[in-house]
């Protein structure tokens, strides 16, 4: 399948290093002037796609972002990392995961990729749903929380991180992968590649043009700050500590 396309999701999120602040009116978190970046898990997804391409197992890597027009910046970064072209699906409001999955399903029909590789979750809403939803909508195989991907022809052997250890499944393509932290370490962008990325194409499509009208399903009532952590107390001896740990069921 050396002519295979791989589609990768690239979500624009508040940068990992930013201390998120909840707005006092409960309407969300402060985003004005806040540094935005590619969702870290999506970077891992992109890195995996690029490695597959570099290994001759795919022909083209398409980076897709769904969101505001500023997500161009994240697509540019994806192109600088090595994606061949970008698709920006613009939406009037922040779409919820089901809508994103539907948008990807529409793009899937258009582009016919062999693999869709997505981050296991976005670090903003932490929902962790789009890959599984997309696989469900397309009725194709899914392999979530991938920590190793071995692609051989029409199938892939995927090692998945699960609570109790590791699971290996074999999936037939086309399929949807969601990637975990330990799959790879995304490359650093080289300066010359930032310049080259300028010349790569980004296609902009409105979600409606893909037939996705409804973007939200849950009503977000409010966003609030979690209660601050309260300190406990000191114990006087090791015996007392063990006693407390026993009471709490830890030993």
């Amino acid at each position: 399948m050396s002519d295979m396309k791989i589609m990768v999701g690239v979500k624009r999120v508040i940068d990992y290093n930013v201390r998120v602040q909840v707005k006092s009116d409960g309407s969300g978190v402060v985003t004005d002037g806040v540094k935005m970046s590619i969702n870290p898990f999506d970077e891992i997804a992109l890195e995996e796609a690029l490695r597959l391409k570099e290994a001759g197992k795919a022909a083209e890597v398409i980076a897709v972002s769904v969101g505001p027009s500023q997500a161009q910046e994240q697509l540019r970064t994806a192109l600088a990392m090595g994606a061949d072209r970008g698709i920006l699906v613009t939406t009037a409001e922040q779409p919820q995961p089901l809508a994103v999955a539907k948008i990807f399903a529409a793009l899937y029909a258009k582009e016919q990729p062999g693999l869709v590789i997505l981050g296991k979750q976005a670090i903003d809403d932490d929902a962790g749903q789009v890959p599984q939803m997309l696989a469900g909508l397309l009725d194709v195989a899914q392999a979530t929380n991938a920590s190793k991907v071995e692609l051989e022809g029409e199938s892939a052997r995927v090692t998945r991180e699960i609570d109790t250890g590791i699971e290996v499944i074999e999936i037939r393509l086309p399929a949807v992968l969601s990637v975990d932290l330990r799959l790879n370490e995304p490359r650093y962008v080289k300066l010359p590649d930032i310049m080259k990325a300028k010349k790569k194409p980004i296609e902009t499509i409105d979600a409606q043009a893909l037939g996705v009208e409804r973007l939200t399903f849950l009503r977000v009532i409010k966003t609030s700050t979690p209660p601050a952590r309260q300190g406990g107390h000191k114990v006087g001896s090791v015996e007392e500590l063990v006693q407390e740990l026993k009471q709490r069921g830890f030993v």
């Binding site: 508040i14 201390r19 998120v20 909840v22 919820q96 995961p97 089901l98 999955a101 670090i123 809403d125 932490d126 929902a127 962790g128 749903q129 789009v130 599984q132 939803m133 997309l134 696989a135 469900g136 195989a141 899914q142 979530t144 929380n145 052997r157 699960i162 609570d163 250890g165 699971e167 290996v168 499944i169 074999e170 999936i171 037939r172 399929a175 932290l181 939200t216 399903f217 849950l218 009503r219 977000v220 009532i221 409010k222 966003t223 609030s224 700050t225 979690p226 952590r229 300190g231 406990g232 107390h233 000191k234 090791v238 500590l241 407390e244 740990l245 026993k246 709490r248 830890f250 030993v251």
Partner: protein, 314 residues
């Protein structure tokens, strides 16, 4: 009135511990019916009886098919979709299995899933964490649609095993997909748990003093069945490898128990553990900032405290 179906996740050790917590969450919906669905290849599964003992459970529905031997999302998801018709809510614990299956179910049902419920406000209004727990979002599910949701297990205590629900077992007809095949599962046995997902973590700081001494931390972790972590200072000093670093620039973790040994509690470190259940601090310096947030603090020299602790542990 709510009718709730809880996914009865089974594993090699029987019923997954998250199920009893998801049931607790389901009970907050004050349901008219609270059924647990166990999808099995073999109805002698020990976990089924355990599910029937969970307080508050109305019925345990056991559905049997060879394809249920492994929790493949495509297979189990399809079964859940078929079972959904009778229910207003479908819940699963936010385990890797639950998180794998449920969104697929939601998409097939055409509803938006709610991830990681941490509080039930009403039948349709829920709190869930966002931004790595730095914000809480309250969402409302639309009327007339089934609610599909995962439950943040760290937010709920397990219901006691004091019930005696009806078990209703029957074969189930499902066509296993040809696109996915289970190969193997390697469960960590005897090895130390992974730091990111471990329920218990023991971490050492600069006060440990050397990489040789760090073995003391590892030994205690093994006694507790815990993962090993380290503070930035300890990693920088070369006492522990990079991947063990807990904190802002290292791993952000949320174990049920976090034991910080010889860690002063720089804010960068605290940022990595604020979602931990119980924080225990052992430090020679009574003024160390770690004590301000620790649930249990013990002032003392780690080289004296740890041997004593190991002696007293069961």
């Amino acid at each position: 009135m709510a009718r709730v179906l809880v996914f009865g996740e089974l594993g090699s050790k029987g019923l997954n511990s998250g199920v009893a917590k998801a049931v607790r969450c389901a009970m907050d919906l004050q349901p008219a019916a609270l059924d647990v669905l166990c999808l099995v290849a073999d109805e002698s599964q020990e976990g089924i009886k355990q599910a029937a003992r969970l307080q508050g459970v109305t019925k345990v529905l056991v559905r049997i098919h060879d394809a249920f031997a492994e929790p493949l999302a495509a297979v189990m998801g399809n079964a859940l979709v078929e079972m959904a018709g009778d229910y207003t809510h479908i819940l699963a614990a936010n385990t890797t299995v639950g998180r794998d299956i449920l969104p697929r179910v939601a998409a097939r049902l055409g509803v938006q899933q709610i991830s990681d419920i941490m509080r039930v406000e009403s039948e349709r209004v829920f709190d869930r964490p966002t931004y790595a727990g730095n914000a809480i979002t309250t969402v409302e599910a639309p009327e007339g649609m089934v609610v599909v949701a995962t439950v943040r297990t760290a937010s709920y205590r397990a219901v006691p095993e004091e019930g005696d629900a009806v078990v209703e077992a029957q074969p189930f007809n499902v066509s296993p997909p040809s696109h996915t095949r289970f190969v193997e599962r390697r469960e960590a046995k005897g090895e130390r748990p992974d730091l990111q997902t471990a329920r218990k973590v023991v971490s050492g700081g600069r006060a440990v003093g050397s990489s040789e001494n760090f073995q003391i931390i590892a030994n205690l972790a093994d006694r507790l069945g815990a993962a090993v972590g380290a503070s930035r200072a300890a990693v920088d000093a070369g006492y522990a490898p990079n991947e063990l670093q807990v904190g802002q620039t290292g791993k952000i973790i949320a174990p049920d128990l976090y034991v910080a040994i010889g860690i002063s509690g720089a804010i960068q470190h605290l940022a990595g553990i604020k979602d931990a259940g119980t924080i225990v601090a052992i430090n020679k310096d009574g003024e160390a900032p770690i004590f301000e947030i620790a649930d249990l603090g013990l002032e003392g020299d780690l080289f004296k405290v740890i041997p004593e602790l190991e002696k007293l542990l069961p």
